[in-house]
């Protein structure tokens, strides 16, 4: 489909290197999550975003202070990119009070309200209406803020998506709907769940501005996100931002992926790894790369230490925070 040709001045190598640092952090974090899960240390149900780091980083780096996001079951990358410290994210996965949701939420419910993360949702599409409402509040108060929803291709099939985008456009609220099309909903490939190939057509039902971008190219994502945010912030209405991306792992940690050929994943890892693409583009020397990698790995390893040394809630703490 048509990829939006890139607006705005190009991004400096320094900034790109900084993006790489962030993407690499997310990558190493997710790999560590897989490892710790296999080691039996992490409770619950985990979904990693390996392959989709450029979307999280490109969009979140384009945000301004005061902008808010809502995430999904695949939330680690968005949460880290929005500025929550890896320690707090990892501590949440270990169910500790130091976690970003204080052990109440878990992997699918990462929150960091102070940093504008209104929470990850384990119900597909469940977070979209609240983003419309948040954007409405900004509009009613005349605040120059934008509300951003992340969701997947599968989420475009649910009624909540339709009602939310329809209402956002009707009321012309400052919202950006970021669709990460990784071509699968769990085990279900696009052709089994989507009647159309170009998901940007979803926006036509609302007369909403749509922008499509290569989700493996962080600079393109960043620039398109800037454009979308400016559009929404400027009062021109919400934007449907479609990022074509790939899930380079299973749907959940431990997913044997019986539903797709091993070669598909192997090939995607070679051709569609956003971290490798950026590394190549920056022509980093092996030393530079090793240093960046070391940094990221150190931070992630420290986060595991932090989490393991965290405080377990008391059983009775379960009865707190039910009501304000």
């Amino acid at each position: 489909m048509a990829i939006a040709e890139q607006k705005g001045q190009s991004v400096s190598a320094e900034t790109l290197k900084d993006f790489l640092r962030e993407m690499l952090l997310i990558r190493r974090f997710e790999e560590m999550v897989e490892e710790r899960f296999r080691a039996g240390e992490l409770p619950g149900f985990l979904h990693v975003a390996i392959g989709q780091e450029a979307v999280a980083v490109g969009v979140c780096r384009a945000l301004e202070d005061g902008d808010v996001i809502a995430s999904t079951h695949r939330a680690h990358g968005h949460t880290l990119a929005k500025g929550t410290h890896p320690n707090e994210v990892m501590a949440e996965l270990y169910g500790k009070l130091e976690g970003c949701s204080h052990g109440y939420g878990g992997s699918m419910h990462l929150y960091d309200v102070e940093r504008g993360n209104l929470g990850a949702n384990a119900v597909v599409g469940g977070g979209l209406p609240a983003i419309v409402g948040g954007a409405l509040a900004f509009k009613l108060r005349g605040e120059p803020r934008v509300a951003v929803a992340f969701f997947g291709d599968g989420a475009t099939n649910i009624g909540t998506f339709h009602e939310s985008l329809n209402l956002a456009q009707l009321w012309n609220v400052p919202a950006v709907f970021v669709c990460e099309n990784n071509h699968y909903a769990e085990s279900t490939p696009s052709k089994q769940q989507l009647p159309i190939e170009d998901l940007s057509k979803r926006a036509e039902a609302y007369g909403m501005t749509a922008m499509t971008v290569d989700g493996q190219d962080v600079e393109a994502v960043y620039r398109t996100a800037q454009e979308a945010l400016a559009h929404a912030r400027g009062g021109s209405g919400p934007v449907f931002l479609l990022a074509e991306t790939y899930r380079l792992t299973g749907h959940y940690v431990g997913d044997p992926q019986v539903y797709r050929p091993k070669e598909e994943v192997r090939e995607l890892r070679q051709t569609q790894d956003p971290v490798e693409k950026l590394r190549a583009r920056l022509e980093l020397s092996d030393d530079e790369w090793t240093e960046l990698d070391r940094e990221a790995t150190d931070i992630v390893e420290a986060s595991v230490e932090f989490a393991k040394n965290g405080t377990d809630p008391q059983p009775e703490d379960a009865l707190k925070n039910v009501y304000a």
Partner: protein, 328 residues
């Protein structure tokens, strides 16, 4: 003290809050020019304008969810769901989102949203326009549930719901909009979670909600003619529930009837009966009797509808059954 209708009392609570507080606004289907399908919001568009009196598309999930988002962003939205039957479309947003954000965030968020809805039979709307579904929401921690039966209560409780920092499901009864009652000049907030005794009595406690409060008072007056002294208690808030008031009353009367328009099976009365026998077992001289709708959808034909939903006679029969029974 001025006399107002239940309908006017609802409007007064909203309008007063909106005058004093920019963060309060209302959203719903046909609430603007038309003033709502029940006429509750008449005149509010003219006073507050279309930005704060927001006519919405038919999108129950999105309007409830937009209320959640605006509430998380610090406002105090009031969303009207035209008929209670349509809350079935918003259950995901109400149950998984509004009720749980505070908890899942470990206390970081609050969702001060008020969801007003109405229902109630007696006018042959058929099976999809008059259900009473309040019981479902009592099973959901994080929500508050309110169901007022008089003008004074509906005004004071709606005020408290708007200013409560949690999501409140606020039930109005279709057939009560026209009833009149005295209210104070200034709005007097009614604390959530406090029952009201409409009528003191010695022989039996009738715990009643919504329309059945009025049917129960009528039944109590009838019973008095037979020398039965009936206490009529309206919990007003179903979650949190004023268990203390209910138990204290039953410890005095040793008998209890619970009455609502909703279906008996798995209705609010089941919870009251379970609580009373748990907490006042040794005081009970008769089983807690339940009065409510018969076990079927609401039929259209008036003769059938009349038969399905409970009336004063049904409450009276339950009172006599309960009082007539020899101590257990």
């Amino acid at each position: 003290m001025p006399e107002v209708t239940y309908r006017e009392a609802v409007r007064d609570a909203m309008s007063t809050a909106m005058r004093r507080d920019d963060d309060v606004f209302i959203m719903g289907e046909d609430i603007a020019e038309m003033g709502g399908s029940m006429g509750v919001t008449q005149g509010m568009l003219q006073e507050f304008g279309p930005e704060r009196v927001r006519n919405t598309p038919i999108s129950e999930m999105a309007i409830v969810g937009a209320g959640i988002g605006a509430a998380m962003a610090g406002m105090r939205p009031i969303v009207e769901v035209m008929y209670q039957d349509f809350t079935t479309l918003a259950m995901e947003q109400i149950v998984n989102q509004a009720a749980k954000h505070r908890y899942m965030s470990g206390g970081q968020l609050k969702v001060p949203l008020t969801i007003r809805t109405q229902g109630g039979a007696g006018w042959s709307p058929g099976a999809q326009h008059a259900q009473q579904l309040e019981a479902w929401f009592l099973h959901v921690p994080g929500l508050k549930v309110v169901f007022p039966s008089t003008p004074a209560d509906v005004r004071g409780l709606l005020w408290s719901s708007i200013y409560d920092d949690n999501t409140t499901i606020f039930f109005e009864h279709r057939t009560l909009y026209g009833i009149k009652g005295e209210v104070s000049e200034e709005i007097e907030p009614v604390e959530l979670g406090k029952a009201r005794v409409h009528r003191e009595g010695e022989d039996v406690t009738v715990v009643a909600t919504g329309r059945l409060v009025h049917e129960s008072i009528a039944a109590a007056q009838e019973a008095e003619k037979d020398g039965i002294s009936v206490e009529v208690l309206d919990p007003r808030t179903l979650l949190p529930l004023d268990e203390g008031a209910i138990i204290a009353s039953v410890e005095k009367t040793n008998r209890c009837v619970v009455a609502h328009e909703a279906i008996v099976r798995m209705g609010f009365g089941a919870e009251v009966a379970a609580l009373v026998q748990e907490r006042a077992f040794d005081y009970l001289d008769a089983p807690v009797a339940r009065v409510g709708a018969r076990f079927c959808p609401l039929p259209f034909a008036p003769v059938m509808e009349e038969y399905v939903i409970p009336h004063a006679e049904d409450v009276l029969a339950a009172i006599k059954r309960t009082v007539g029974r020899n101590g257990g």
